[in-house]
């Protein structure tokens, strides 16, 4: 910096300042202690019109006297700058939102404030945007809260207040769930920790004491900051959807029972036929005095009475209309048990039984006994299919994995496979391809148990190539059932 500015450079600076003053992209005015506007730029003149010999309150507000609360007066007193948001009128008396920044000007450095410079800019657009945002925030059909690191609610939208009450400053867990402590599996806690977005399904209690199911998404209020100071919780009310889901689940269960009852009739018909045959042989034997025929008839009666017993037993276990007894279960451990159980039996028939497990698969709320039964049924079917197929290198593979939010167990074999006709019938009635050996209940029971878990069973099969039975359990449904059973 040169110590001494030449006259020439001073004049240049003055010229630049003047141009800047005129061309600055906002309205600039300078006022004195008596509210007189003593200077203003072209922008100001264009917007507010003639200002010569007028006072600021007259130009800005079309008033006869100073405002009751006067920023200028305060600045002349304390010499500090101010920013205010106010409504002012242009030369045609159109009112609009402005932000006015006012700063003190001194003729002597450190001296009293002689003038004030006011920079005015229109913010009507911004303001409208703000209002629209507010309406959106309040009325969007979601519950929105912002919580601080202590889990206190610092902001809540209207939808939330309507449902949960006016609760600013209270702990969110207290408001959402009437708990005294933080919730387990809290998604907000995770967001505070890793700054990422998390989702979870929860149930809470409204201010009217009614239960509310909601799906909540938590995200940091300000993204990209190292430390998350606030988390925004956006919740969608899924109470009605949950209710519908439950009804669908119930309907599926009922349908399974209906199909079973229809199938039962068929099994009984076959047994009755056997009894009829036994009876006929005995009476024929008696008429002819044929001892061996009487014996044959009696054997036939025995067999079919036994079948009745088996059927009734299977049927009872099937008809147990109970809810699954859910507990957190390791899917891989379950499969391990089955492999242990069947490995030797499979080996005897030269079939290799393998498990292909997803490592560290998350545990799921399952009825371990029920899933055990399902896997047993599927594996023993697969082994039978391998025997029927009589191929070399037969194998049965049990797989676990997670796919699109679903826990999946799969039993596949390279045995005889099924053609279309058999495939479409396997679940419909007491269908069996094992002649007198099976009751045709295995797959039905399996399907029922799977459905009771809110899951479904899918079959792929190709004649001569093998079959693949897949049990799919949506983890969300499992969790829903789990919460209900608690």
């Amino acid at each position: 910096m040169p110590k001494h500015k030449t006259e020439k450079s001073k004049a240049l600076t003055q010229l630049l300042y003047d141009q800047f003053f005129q061309q600055a992209p906002f309205n600039v005015a300078i006022i004195d202690r008596d509210y007189n506007i003593i200077e203003a730029n072209d922008n100001f003149t264009r917007y507010f019109g003639n200002w010569h010999n007028r006072k600021c309150f007259s130009v800005y507000k079309k008033q006869e006297r100073p405002c009751s609360v006067c920023t200028q007066k305060e600045i002349f007193e304390d010499g500090r700058t101010r920013v205010v948001d106010t409504v002012v009128a242009d030369k045609n008396s159109r009112w609009a939102h402005h932000v006015i920044q006012s700063a003190p000007l001194r003729l002597t450095p450190g001296g009293p404030v002689d003038y004030i410079v006011e920079i005015t800019s229109v913010v009507t657009d911004t303001n409208q945007w703000q209002q629209e945002y507010n309406v959106l925030f309040d009325r969007v059909p979601c519950y929105i809260t912002v919580i601080d690191e202590e889990y206190r609610i610092v902001r809540a939208n209207e939808s939330f207040r309507e449902r949960f009450g006016d609760v600013l400053g209270q702990y969110c867990y207290k408001v959402y769930k009437r708990r005294e402590k933080k919730c387990p599996r809290c998604p907000a806690a995770r967001t505070f920790k890793d700054g990422k977005i998390h989702q979870s399904e929860q149930n809470g209690i409204g201010k009217d004491s009614r239960k509310i199911d909601y799906a909540v998404t938590t995200s940091p209020l300000v993204r990209g900051e190292e430390r998350v100071a606030h988390v925004i919780e956006i919740s969608t009310d899924v109470t009605k959807i949950k209710k519908l889901e439950k009804e669908v689940l119930e309907a599926e269960r009922l349908a399974a029972v209906g199909q079973t009852v229809a199938g039962l009739a068929h099994s009984i018909k076959n047994i009755l036929m056997g009894l009829e045959g036994g009876k006929y042989m005995i009476s024929l034997g008696l008429k002819k005095d044929d001892r061996s025929m009487i014996d044959r008839g009696s054997d036939m009666l025995d067999r079919n009475f036994d079948k009745t017993t088996t059927l009734v037993k299977d049927f009872l276990s099937f008809s147990k209309g109970r809810l699954p007894q859910l507990k957190m279960t390791d899917p891989n451990a379950l499969v391990g048990e089955i492999v242990d159980l069947y490995k030797d039996i499979a080996a005897v028939s030269n079939i290799e039984l393998k498990a292909r497990l997803k490592p560290k698969i998350s545990p799921a709320p399952l009825d371990p006994d029920a899933i055990h039964t399902c896997l047993t049924n599927l594996v023993s079917n697969a082994l039978d299919a391998c025997l029927m197929g009589q191929q070399k290198g037969s194998e049965v593979v049990i797989t676990t994995r997670d796919e699109k939010g679903k826990l999946i167990f799969e039993v596949s074999d390279n045995g005889s496979g099924m053609d279309y006709e058999i495939k479409k019938k396997i679940f419909t009635t007491f269908f069996t391809t094992k002649g007198g050996e099976g009751t045709g209940l295995g797959l039905l029971t399996t399907r029922k148990l799977v459905q009771e878990h809110g899951g479904k069973i899918v079959v792929e099969s190709q004649k001569g190539k093998g079959s693949r039975f897949r049990m799919e359990f949506p983890r969300k449904r499992l969790e829903m059932l789990y919460r209900e059973s608690e």
Partner: protein
Amino acid sequence: MTDPAEKNILVVDDEDDVRDFLKLALTEAGFTVRTASDGLEALEEVKRQVPDLISLDLVMPKKSGAKFHRELTKNKAWAKIPIIIVTGHACDDLGKADLRELTMSGPGIYLEKPIKPDRYVAAVKQVLGLETSAEEKDLADQVELQSELKNLIDDADPETLRKMKDILKKKK
């Protein structure tokens, strides 16, 4: 007149007991009887010697009754073999479609399990056009009527059934 012993009947059923029972009933009536436990076996038997009548179960492993029948119809000589369907699936979803296909396309009637031996024999004789005793004739007629009525009732909608009931009531 034809003697039952000259008539060769093939009984097809996957249930051992049912097969034995039907075979015995027919043998007692004097027929020559062969058996098969599924559609594949049955086809072999037909190839070996064309039977005069086939008593057929619908739902069986390996080759179902319907599939077996489809094979039969491909052969002109075999297509004429009269068939009696003996099934438990007549009125459920599993058997209905198969049954319709069979009764529409071929000769024969169907009997629903469980069935009494004399009624079964009577139906077989009827289909074969063998001389029957008055009693057997009655039984066979009954079976046929029943089978026909059942078909109608199974296919009828609730509204028609209600009308039928009303008409029957008036007759009484």
